[in-house]
């Protein structure tokens, strides 16, 4: 008997398929693409926060030897932006500059030194306008509009009340109101933004290499900005050095480089600096939150009222979606009724914010889990018991019509309670040490893409040719999160083949099918399901071929990956023989797999924008954070993190662990040290020393528990793993600090100086109390 069995490719620890390129230095990122004769691009940026443009003087720069072209706002009157309803941005400012660092002109020169020298010769004359650096200042009654179409500088306000909050608060045993402030933070991915554009003037074709999460959006926006038919544009995504959301939108650097390339009819490479990368921004906005929760003695939440103001920056970007997420994602984690939300997204004269990992949900979750923890303490309830009192009963729909099918939060909560030794340790921690817990959740892909033209939500193709190689063609953007590995594993699993048989080609619009890209944690769920569909379609073709070859009925054919046979006694045909048979009719085989989200997952219509938050599956996370606080210096050390993440089914345990650890750690940066600060609109923190990213020396061990709730719609039951664990860290940290020293921090980041100041304030207050009682 032969012992051939299908290869199993999911559920194990699988190193990433593109790892060898990355560890050997062979992986090419956009800035690594060079060719003889390629020009260097550099951008001239506004030194003013807000002003009417009177003149952009490029005469002296043009005369500099080696300068080949300069483009300004006069070269392009089109606008771009990620949301079809809010395309307010010019690649190069026209008429007005709206933030310090906004691109005004760009130079292509024979080398970078010449391009930089030319940029320094460009002069901008403006009539300065009043500039607003906070949401409050921009909303003041006498503030002028930063965009004429947005009076009051209100990009979008959202108001809904579902249920009856007044009645809910009346039923509560305890009602508390708190305000929270979360500083603006930036993705600060390791690869600085870059673009290479090549214009073929003879054929009128443009090729752009872009460090993007969504090549399709770059393609769309290039077409719009260049006023070129999409079929004349090719977008290539090389290796991408991280995104975390800032590369979801098309960035001005890609568009500007293309404008330069067209002007000179050749190739231009623009690699912007770290400082410029910070200023390009698209990070998480500064957020002010007022939150009221009503809680019963048994731990049930009776009502929630939430106000949220976001300082969005000078252009719309993702703003409308962010402020909607912040409201809708109050739901789908606990069983909430009687919820009122007022969100305001405000335009200011600071660089535009965007979608940062955990888009729209993080700051709200920080506020919610902080207040819940505080109120649990006041009612003498265990924080775990309060979460358990409010679980959803899945499958269910929330009051705002979000579809929840699989719900592993209870298992996550149980896991971190057990793993951290919470019950035994919580009340026996030494002085200055504390434990805190919190929960969070996230979507596995937005059910309705923002640029939807009606086709399936994901399409994957598989090519099979005479050599027996299975080539997956996908537009899903590998940005380091492991999407290509997951797609290869998925196809290999369906076909029962070893991973080494499968290759994948991504990121070239000439070859791969269109994809909506890597954002909102959509790839595993949506593209994974399309890959399964494609692989099943290929398997059907192979089974039919095997049936012809073995003179059997297709329903009798057994697929063992490398062997197809008609029953256990049959010698069968090898995979390679079946491929030859399959190709006889049609030649090279290409199959398609599609996936579309179901209408029930599209969210509701109870308020304008209620579709935002709809997804096929929510991931869940619970965390326990252990801290030590040095009361003499205010330094907080995270000693250990236990995190459990419900990803439905871990297709790859190695990458799930890596994604969850990375999320927790990124949450730690936001909670403890990261902050984008400005002085009169000048970004003061546009480098990695002043923008304090945690180093290896600041970073704790992070123990990951994987919870598998087997989502009924997920590919092999899987949901997302790369975002949902970020948010819970922030409140778990501040809850742990409260446990350690009895002080609650409502403002982020919790830096040593803030901790020290709070401890000193308490000492002074206690001293006064002692003095006054001593004197009485």
């Amino acid at each position: 008997m032969n012992k051939i069995v299908p290869a199993h490719n999911i559920g194990g620890y699988v190193p990433m398929i593109d790892g060898p390129e990355k560890v050997s230095g062979r992986a090419k990122y956009t800035a690594d693409i060079m060719a003889p004769g390629m020009l260097a691009g550099r951008i001239f940026r506004s030194p003013y926060s807000h002003g009417e443009i009177l003149e952009v003087d490029i005469a002296a720069a043009l005369k500099l030897p080696g300068v080949k072209a300069i483009v300004t706002g006069a070269d392009c009157d089109k606008t771009f932006g990620v949301l079809p309803i809010a395309r307010s941005e010019h690649p190069l400012a026209r008429d007005r500059v709206r933030y310090r660092g906004e691109p005004v002109a760009a130079v292509a020169a024979i080398d970078d030194t010449t391009a930089l020298a030319a940029v320094r010769l460009i002069k901008l004359k403006v009539r300065e306008l009043p500039a607003y650096y906070t949401a409050k200042a921009a909303m003041a009654p006498d503030a002028i509009a930063i965009h004429d179409k947005k009076p009051g500088n209100l990009e979008r306000d959202v108001l809904f009340e579902l249920g009856n909050t007044a009645q809910g608060f009346a039923e509560a045993d305890l009602v508390r109101e708190e305000t929270y402030n979360c500083a603006e933070v930036c993705q600060n991915q390791m690869e600085m933004h870059a673009a290479v554009a090549d214009y073929d003037a003879v054929r009128g074709r443009m090729t752009v290499h872009a460090s993007t999460q969504v090549p399709y959006y770059v393609h769309l926006m290039l077409s719009q900005i260049l006023d070129m038919n999409m079929s004349r544009i090719r977008v290539i995504k090389p290796h991408v050095g991280g995104g975390f959301g800032c590369r979801t939108e098309t960035l001005n650097v890609e568009l500007i480089t293309a404008l330069l390339a067209r002007k000179i009819g050749g190739s231009v490479r623009t690699v912007i600096t770290r400082e410029e990368t910070f200023i390009t921004h698209r990070g998480r906005p500064e957020t002010d939150i007022k939150l009221i929760i009503g809680l019963r003695k048994d731990g049930r939440i009776t009502a929630v009222e939430c106000e949220c103001d976001q300082r969005g920056g000078a252009h719309s970007g993702y703003g409308v979606v962010t402020i909607l997420y912040s409201g809708s994602m109050l739901y789908a984690i606990y069983d909430l009724h009687n919820v009122k939300y007022l969100g305001r997204r405000v335009l200011t004269n600071t660089p535009p914010c965007g979608a940062f990992r955990g888009h729209g949900t993080v700051d709200i979750r920080f506020a919610f889990e902080s207040l819940l923890d505080r109120m649990a303490g006041e009612l003498g309830l265990d924080p775990f018991a309060v979460r358990r009192a409010n679980y959803l009963n899945a499958p269910t729909f929330t009051d705002n019509d979000l579809m929840v099918n699989s719900y592993g939060l209870p298992e996550c909560v149980d896991w971190v309670e057990r793993a951290s030794g919470w019950k035994a340790r919580k009340n026996t921690m030494p002085k200055g040490k504390g434990l805190g817990m919190a929960c969070s959740h996230y979507i596995s892909g937005a059910s309705k893409p923002v640029n939807w033209t009606g086709e399936p939500h994901a399409t994957v193709k598989i090519k099979l040719d005479f050599d027996g190689s299975v080539v997956v063609l996908s537009g899903a953007a590998e940005i380091g999160q492991g999407s290509s590995t997951i797609l290869v594993q998925t196809v290999a699993e369906v076909l029962g083949l070893d991973l080494s048989r499968i290759r994948i080609v991504t990121g070239d619009s000439d070859i791969v099918p269109k994809d909506n890209g890597s954002y909102s944690s959509r790839v595993t769920f949506l593209v994974g399901n399309a890959a399964i569909d494609a692989a099943q379609n290929l398997k059907r073709v192979l089974v039919a071929a095997a049936a012809r070859k073995l003179e059997a009925k297709p329903e009798d054919i057994e697929c063992l990956g490398e062997l197809y046979r008609a029953g256990a006694q049959d010698k069968g045909a090898s995979f390679d023989e079946v491929v030859v048979e399959a190709l006889k009719d049609t030649g090279t085989i290409t199959v398609t797999g599609n996936y579309s989200t179901i209408p029930e997952s599209h969210g509701g219509k109870k308020y304008r924008g209620a579709a935002i938050g709809g997804t096929m599956g929510y991931s869940y996370s619970a965390q326990v954070v252990e801290v030590s606080v040095d009361e003499e210096t205010g330094v907080v050390t995270v000693d250990k993190v236990w995190v459990a993440h419900d990803c439905g089914k871990a297709l790859n345990r190695l990458t799930v662990e890596g994604q969850v650890q990375g999320s927790v750690w990124m949450g730690m940066g936001q909670a403890m040290s990261e902050e984008v600060a400005y002085h009169d609109g000048l970004m003061l923190t546009a480098n990695m020393l002043d923008y304090r990213v945690p180093t290896i020396q600041d970073s704790p061990p992070i123990e990951v528990g994987i919870v598998e709730s087997n989502d009924p719609h997920g590919p092999f039951g899987a949901k997302e793993a790369g975002e949902g664990s970020l948010a819970a860290f922030l409140p778990a940290l501040t809850n742990a600090i409260a446990d350690a020293i009895g002080i609650r921090f409502n403002d982020l980041p919790v830096t040593p100086d803030r901790v020290f100041e709070a401890i000193e304030k308490r000492r002074r207050a206690l001293g006064k109390e002692k003095n006054s009682s001593g004197g009485a």
């Binding site: 560890v23 050997s24 230095g25 991915q189 770290r274 940005i479 380091g480 890596g658």
Partner: protein
């Protein structure tokens, strides 16, 4: 002013005319075409450009090309023998010490430098050796595991 630079790059002797103000990082990437060494910041903030100069991890963005005259410089491209990954490369690949991969060449060279000096480092020694490299993807947990695994592979005789 250009000057003649003679040194050993990845085991090969090289002689080039280089401007006196050219950074080693830009020389490696733009002149030689070895793009494995990455630019991650505006100077000395992130460690992505780490190379070994006479086995010592050094930031190539803060080093003038002309200053490596007569020295031995190793970049990530020097690692591995006969097409096989080196111990440190295998550690970062197999233990997922690399996600997006952009900081990885810097981390790998800093780790290779550590293991050449100290073949069996403690966790604290690994953390100290990688303190000036920033990674934005991993949270560093698997980077520590990668270096520990690399040390174990090296003990089995695989080149670091």
């Amino acid at each position: 002013m250009a000057r003649i630079l003679a040194f050993v790059l990845n085991d090969r002797a090289r002689t080039d005319a280089v401007p006196g103000n050219l950074l080693l990082l830009d020389y490696l990437r733009e002149v030689v075409g070895l793009t494995g060494t990455k630019t991650g910041c505006d100077g000395g903030e992130c460690g992505a450009c780490t190379v070994l100069i006479d086995d010592k991890p050094t930031l190539s963005c803060l080093t003038l090309a002309a200053s490596v005259e007569g020295r031995r410089v190793d970049t990530v491209e020097s690692l591995g023998t006969d097409g096989q990954l080196s111990a440190v490369q295998r550690g970062f690949h197999e233990k997922l010490g690399a996600q997006c991969g952009y900081c990885t060449p810097g981390f790998i060279m800093a780790s290779a430098g550590l293991l050449r000096k100290n073949p069996n480092p403690s966790e604290a020694e690994i953390i100290a050796a990688l303190g000036s490299n920033i990674c934005r993807c991993t949270g560093y947990v698997k980077i520590i595991e990668a270096v520990q695994y690399a040390a174990a592979l090296r003990a089995q005789g695989i080149a670091p």
